[in-house]
Structures are given as C-alpha cells and as structure tokens.
Amino acid sequence: MMLKRLFPMRWAKIAAWTGAALAWGTTAIAVASNANAAAPLEETIVPQAIEPPITTSTTTTTVAPVPELPDRGLVVVRYTPVPPPPPQVVTRTVVVAGASGGGGGGVSASAPAASPPQPAAAAAAPAAAAPVQSSGS
C-alpha cells in the first residue's frame, strides 16, 4: 500500500522513462554516425594529383633527325615537309649524267659515264660564264 502511494502509476512511468532513454540513445547514435560520415567527404574536396590512365599500347613517331646547331647558327636553305622519293640507286645502267642535271649551260661534275673527250674548241666560249655545277661524287 505504502509503495502504491509513493509511486502511483509505477509501470507507466517505467515505460515512459525507458522510451525516453531509447529515444535519446538512438538520437545520439545517429548524430555520431553523421559526424563520422562527414569526414571522408571533406577529404575528397582536397585536390589530388590524378595519375594518367595506364594504357597497354604505345605510339611511336619517327622524326627525321635535325642537324646539331652550329656555334654561329644554322641556315635553312630549303625545307620540304613532305619527304621526296629517295633517289635511284646508281648502277651502270642508270644514266647518271642525265640524272644529275647538266642543263643551263653547266656540266654535271659527277657523271661517271661522261661524254668522250672533246676538243677545246668544241666547248664554246659563250657558256664560260655559266655557273659551275657541283653535285657530289
């Protein structure tokens, strides 16, 4: 009797306090969970180096060698972006004299199959002012 007077509706209060405790605990756990989840989010904001994707195939480009730069500079006399066809292999059957020029009054200086000797008078004086040609030997 005495207990009933001191603690009226005892079971109702127990249930109420238990519910309140559970609610507080759940809230506390939820807040803690949110705080832990926020930390990685901040880390992703920090700028990071991005590694290039690793590829399994490589591309190589063949670049024509360029001359080493001389001390006093280099003159580009002619630049052809598109490589011309390679010269023909010279053999006995190739008329080198024709291939190496000879026009303009000049004479190919590299023709191994040159014309036979001519008398001096046959080479006319008017052509004497023409530039000499040099095309390698």
Binding site: A64, E68, G73, P83, S110, S115, A129, V132
Partner: protein
C-alpha cells in the same frame, strides 16, 4: 674566257681558262695524275704500289705529292677521310671503275677492321701490311688545285670538286634528285660536294656506297645524303664534304668549328637543306 669539257678520272672535267693553251695544259695534268694515281688501271703506279708486298716503298715525286695531300686530308678530318681505306672500299664491292660496276658485288664484311697505318716521308711510303691506298677523291681535288695554282686554268670542276681563281665564280649545288639546291657565290677558293646518293650499288642484303666510315668500316648510312664544303683548296673541300656526310647529325656543327672551312651545306635524306651561316648565296 675559254671553256672545255672532257672526261678523266671516271668523271666529267669542266675547265675555264684564259687561253686554249691553258685548257690543254689542264687536260695533260689530269691525264698525268690519272695515269699515276688510278687504282683501276693495273699499270698505274698506285696499283703497282698497292700490289707491292713490301712495307716500305719508294714512290715517284708526283705520287709522293698526292700522298701528302691525302695525309693532309686525313689530318684535318681527324682520320675520318683516310686514303688507306682502299681495302675496305674494295671489299665492299667498289673494286673496278664505276662505269663497269654491277649490282651484286661486295660482301658485308671487310678484312680491314682497324684504322690503316701509313705515312709518307719524302718519297718513302711506309705502311702496315695489307694497307691499300685509294686516292680517288683526293686526286681529283688535288689535280684541280694543281691546274689553278700553276696558272693553267681559272676554274676547274672535277666530279663535284671545284677550284677557282675567279672572283665571279658561282656554283650550282645539285641535289640527289637533280634539283638545284643552292646557287653559291664561291669567288676565289674551292668547293666540293660529296654524296652517298651516287655511286651506290646493291650487294646481297643491302646497299653500299663508296664512302666508308673508318669508325665502323661500313659504308656511311647516316641522315646526310650529300654535303658541300667551301675551303681554300679542293683537297680540303673534298675532305670536309666527306667528313660532314660521315658525321651525320653533327656534321655541320663540326664544320662550323673548323677555321679552315668557310661554309658548308648539307642535304638531308628528308630533302631538307641546311647550311652554316658562312654561306654566300648568289642572287
């Protein structure tokens, strides 16, 4: 000014002289030097010297002068241009005049694997066993020099080697494709062009040319197809042009550092043409 064109030393000789007598004298000089210095003539002094097994040989004064010119070419190019490489040139197939050369000759290896040792003292030639002398390029340039220095000719061009005593001398540089790559104001001096695009032949598995690199004992196969050098004498120009081809990428830079080379020009395999700043282009 008189002009004549004739054949000698397996190439075409273009002579400009004041008189017909000068042209005739120039022709005789070429004939005389060729008789002595051709390695394609079995009866020539050079052929007999090469066939001689003796280590020490006495040569004629003319041959001695030609050998001294070759020794000078070797010295100024640091051994790159060496007349003692005749054995390697022959081994690679260039054992006859180019007119009679055919594809399929030669082999991929040469018995000559070390730098040849030879020297000329007076008229005494001293060489190590097996050294075969090839005066081809040097003899052409040297003969041009002789004809002009003796006053017989004003301008002489022989197989790409030009020696001039005329202030007005201009030279067209013809590239391996037959186009004029540059028109150069030469003036008094000498110019020579060396090319590995000409005088080439095929052997078993590849292609060879007349320019043997003493560092590899193989024909040159660098990026420079053709080089031209301007110097005081044709012997020096011939040596410089060959050295530039052999040095490849660094050839023009090397030429630029040599005080005896006025200017140089190189034709790349790609068709590009580069020169040193000393080049004087004619209009």
């Amino acid at each position: 000014m008189k002009r004549a064109v004739f054949s000698a030393m397996g190439t075409s000789i273009d002579v400009r002289a004041a008189t017909d007598g000068g042209i005739d004298s120039t022709r005789r000089i070429f004939e005389t030097v060729e008789e002595a210095c051709s390695r394609f003539r079995p009866e020539s002094e050079l052929s007999r010297t090469n066939d001689d097994a003796d280590r020490i040989v006495t040569v004629s004064p003319l041959m001695a002068c030609a050998l001294r010119a070759a020794e000078h070419a070797r010295t100024i190019t640091g051994g790159l241009v060496d007349a003692g490489l005749g054995g390697a040139v022959r081994a690679w197939g260039y054992d006859r005049s180019f007119e009679s050369l055919e594809d399929g000759l030669g082999c991929e290896t040469s018995d000559q694997t070390a730098a040849p040792e030879w020297s000329i003292d007076g008229t005494t030639l001293v060489r190590s066993p097996g050294v075969n002398i090839d005066l081809g390029g040097v003899a052409k340039g040297w003969t041009c020099d002789l004809a002009v220095e003796r006053g017989h000719a004003t301008i002489v061009s022989a197989g790409g080697d030009v020696r001039s005593a005329s202030n007005d001398a201009r030279v067209e540089i013809v590239d391996p494709w037959g186009d004029v790559a540059a028109l150069i104001r030469l003036g008094v001096g000498a110019l020579a062009t060396s090319s590995i695009a000409r005088r080439r032949w095929r052997y078993g598995s590849g292609e060879a040319n007349h320019l043997i690199d003493p560092r590899t004992m193989r024909p040159s196969d660098g990026p420079v197809l053709q080089a031209t050098a301007i110097t005081a004498t044709a012997v020096e120009a011939e040596a410089a042009a060959k050295a530039i081809v052999l040095l490849g990428v660094g050839g023009l830079a090397w030429a630029d550092r040599q005080p005896w080379i006025r200017a140089a020009l190189a034709v790349w395999r790609s068709g590009c043409v580069y020169g040193t700043t000393g080049l004087e282009m004619a209009a």
